[in-house]
């Protein structure tokens, strides 16, 4: 198997012979009556960036802390590189963690912070110096080696924390909201730096984040968590284009959701009547659901075409509405279109032209989409 660069292009999770690096087997963690993590199983492969994505309180941080050894699972076990981690304390795990608060030691300067883990391992002074210098160079913090943490900006602290957790060359790095404390511009910039660093060092990353955009950018695979469970795991595009449930469709990106009933259920297409939409939806692939079942159809805002004249062709996947609101975001605009059923549909359109706002408030528009665009979920 070739060692793919950056994003794992080889998709080892689709290869039954590939050996997972981290195996989480039916792990649960309860705090009193509260089940923080509920029967989670996961396989994570070498050089992956696996993102645990979920709202706060969904159990993602607890799962990460169990991997680091800071929480003891109530049941289930974790294997790292084939070795059972049950009862192994954090200081003996081949794992390092980057904390959300960064947890830099305030009484040590940048250099001492980064050297801490190496000194703990009693490496020769010469080697410690070299490795610290290399690492600081890698995160572009060499000029700040003698500064104390409180003299650094948020972004600089983030780099130091990253350097400190990577300098011991762990095979697996756990990152708890690594970019959470940074402002938007810096966050975007740092995302790509993080990817290139991971690529360079060949470390496996497990990242906890609540920011779906961050997860999409970083991850080779995303595990979406809700109420202590992994509701779906897959590549960013799988998660986005083929969500398996209403929750995932709604949580990742924005989506228009229409409740409806199957009226035609064939192996190669389905037709759904949706009173909420006030029309029928035609989907060009079969789904597995009982006849007459209540289903939800998810259509992404960017997959909806909007025009002032009725498109030719079928009456499926076509509704009329009134533009209620327009938000201009620069690169694209968001239109909120009110249907006769009072349902408001969200449509985004790229602003390809600099002038001419073709569609404006209170205008009658037609909304339509391709038969391949909708996703049908049954739960």
């Amino acid at each position: 198997m070739p060692s793919a660069a950056g994003v794992v292009k080889a998709q080892p999770w689709n290869d039954p012979s590939a050996r997972p690096y981290v195996e989480v087997e039916r792990i649960s963690k309860s705090f009193g009556d509260f089940k923080a993590v509920n029967d989670v199983s996961l396989k994570i492969y070498q050089k992956e960036i696996f993102c645990l994505l979920g709202a706060s309180g969904c159990g993602k941080t607890t799962l990460l802390r169990m991997l680091g050894g800071f929480e003891t699972p109530t049941s289930g076990k974790i294997l790292i590189d084939g070795e059972d981690m049950t009862g192994i304390p954090p200081y003996e795990r081949p794992v390092n963690m980057m904390f959300q608060s960064y947890a830099l030691f305030p009484h040590m300067n940048v250099e001492q912070n980064v050297a801490f883990g190496l000194k703990q391992d009693r490496l020769p002074k010469q080697e410690i110096q070299e490795r610290v210098a290399t690492m600081l160079d890698l995160v572009k913090m060499s000029d700040f080696a003698k500064r104390k943490p409180h003299q650094l900006s948020g972004g600089q602290r983030q780099r130091v924390a990253l350097a400190r957790s990577l300098v011991k060359r762990p095979k697996l790095l756990l990152l708890d909201e690594p970019l959470g404390a940074l402002d938007k511009k810096l966050r975007e910039h740092t995302q790509f730096e993080l990817i290139s660093l991971q690529d360079k060092l060949g470390v496996t990353f497990i990242v906890v984040t609540h920011d779906q955009e961050e997860a999409m950018t970083l991850a080779s695979r995303i595990g979406v968590m809700n109420h202590g469970e992994i509701v779906q795991a897959g590549t960013p595009s799988e998660i986005y284009e083929f969500p398996s449930s209403k929750f995932v469709a709604d949580f990742v990106g924005s989506v228009n959701m229409f409740e409806g009933k199957l009226i035609e259920d064939e192996p190669n297409y389905v037709r759904i009547a949706s009173p909420e939409l006030g029309g029928t939806i035609y989907v060009s692939h079969g789904i597995s659901a009982p006849p007459e079942a209540v289903v939800w159809v998810a259509v992404r805002p960017e997959k909806i075409f909007m025009s002032t004249v009725a498109p030719e062709g079928s009456t499926d996947n076509l509704v009329r509405g009134t533009v209620q609101d327009i938000a201009y975001l620069g690169d694209l605009s968001i239109y909120l279109v009110k249907l006769p059923t009072d349902k408001v549909v969200r449509v985004t359109q790229p602003n390809t032209s600099r002038h001419a706002e073709a569609i404006s408030w209170d205008q009658q528009v037609y909304l339509s989409w391709d038969a391949t665009s909708p996703v049908v979920v049954t739960r």
């Binding site: 304390p89 963690m97 947890a103 830099l104 009484h107 801490f116 957790s165």
Partner: protein, 287 residues
């Protein structure tokens, strides 16, 4: 309003200090008060100023005084050390306790202050004396057959001082530890530290200012402590506070007593300045 603290200081520190300083330079006299004035009209329209350094010189000629000074420093130092050994785990435990439990524990630390120090020291006499509580319990359990001599020994004195001053060490140390980010310990463990190593490398250095502040609050008053050594320590407990008392009340040697007091103050000033700078650093948040 700004002047108020200064007024307070002038009234209750500077004025008494100047009075004591003045007495320390005067001669003993069989009079009330028992010393001669520094300034005297001697006729011929002249004012005689007589500054007597003998009181200070005397302190250095009689080894008793230097001995008492040295012993006081030793007792204060050892007491502070014992307070630290006992108080650090307590402060640490309180800081890491659940918030609901924390207030109860803090209350327990402060609770003894609700009775007078004197009563508490007397209570220790009741515990430590030959037919006191401790000896009675040990004898009835058959652990000892003769009462242990505890009262009026250095042991009793240390017990009294450590017991009385422990809260002064715990409270500032707790205030310091309470601000600590415990995630730092997880980070240290993550980087390969065993829990005790994490304590030694992270918690201890970060609580340094709390340790210094608490230690000074014990050490400085313990050097001049009078009541506890007098009541528990017995006749051999030679502390400078007792020497001062004896000079003042038994010998009626006010000038010598004043000289002792001034010397004690001079001895403690460096420690107080150190404490001040620690406090200033703590407030500035630069640790």
């Amino acid at each position: 309003m700004v002047a108020l603290p200064y007024l307070w200081l002038v009234l209750f520190f500077v004025v008494p200090f100047v009075i004591v300083l003045k007495i320390s330079f005067s001669d003993v006299d069989l009079a009330i008060p028992p010393y001669k004035p520094l300034l005297e009209w001697v006729g011929n329209n002249s004012l005689a100023i007589k500054v007597n350094f003998n009181n200070y010189a005397f302190l250095f000629t009689d080894s008793l005084y230097l001995h008492a000074f040295a012993n006081s420093l030793k007792v204060a130092f050892l007491s502070t050390l014992m307070c630290l050994v006992i108080g650090y785990p307590m402060a640490y435990g309180i800081a890491r306790a659940k918030p609901s439990l924390r207030n109860v524990l803090l209350l327990l630390v402060i609770l003894p202050f609700w009775t007078s120090l004197l009563l508490r020291v007397y209570a220790w006499i009741g515990l430590l004396k030959a037919n006191g509580v401790i000896n009675n319990v040990l004898m009835s359990l058959g652990i000892i057959h003769e009462p242990l001599t505890m009262l009026y020994t250095p042991f009793a004195m240390y017990v009294g001082i450590v017991y009385s001053y422990l809260p002064f060490l715990i409270l500032p140390l707790y205030a310091n530890l309470e601000k600590m980010d415990w995630q730092l310990l997880e980070a240290a463990e993550d980087l390969g530290c065993r829990p005790w190593q994490a304590f030694y490398k992270i918690t201890l250095p970060l609580s340094r200012n709390g340790i210094l502040a608490g230690s000074m609050l014990v050490f400085i008053p313990a050097v001049g402590e009078f009541v506890i050594p007098a009541l528990l320590g017995g006749p051999n407990a030679l502390m400078i506070g007792r020497v001062l008392w004896d000079e003042f009340f038994s010998n009626r040697a006010w000038p010598v007593a004043s000289a002792v007091a001034i010397l004690l103050l001079i001895l403690l000033v460096p420690f107080m300045m150190w404490y001040q700078s620690v406090q200033a650093r703590e407030t500035a948040g630069d640790r």
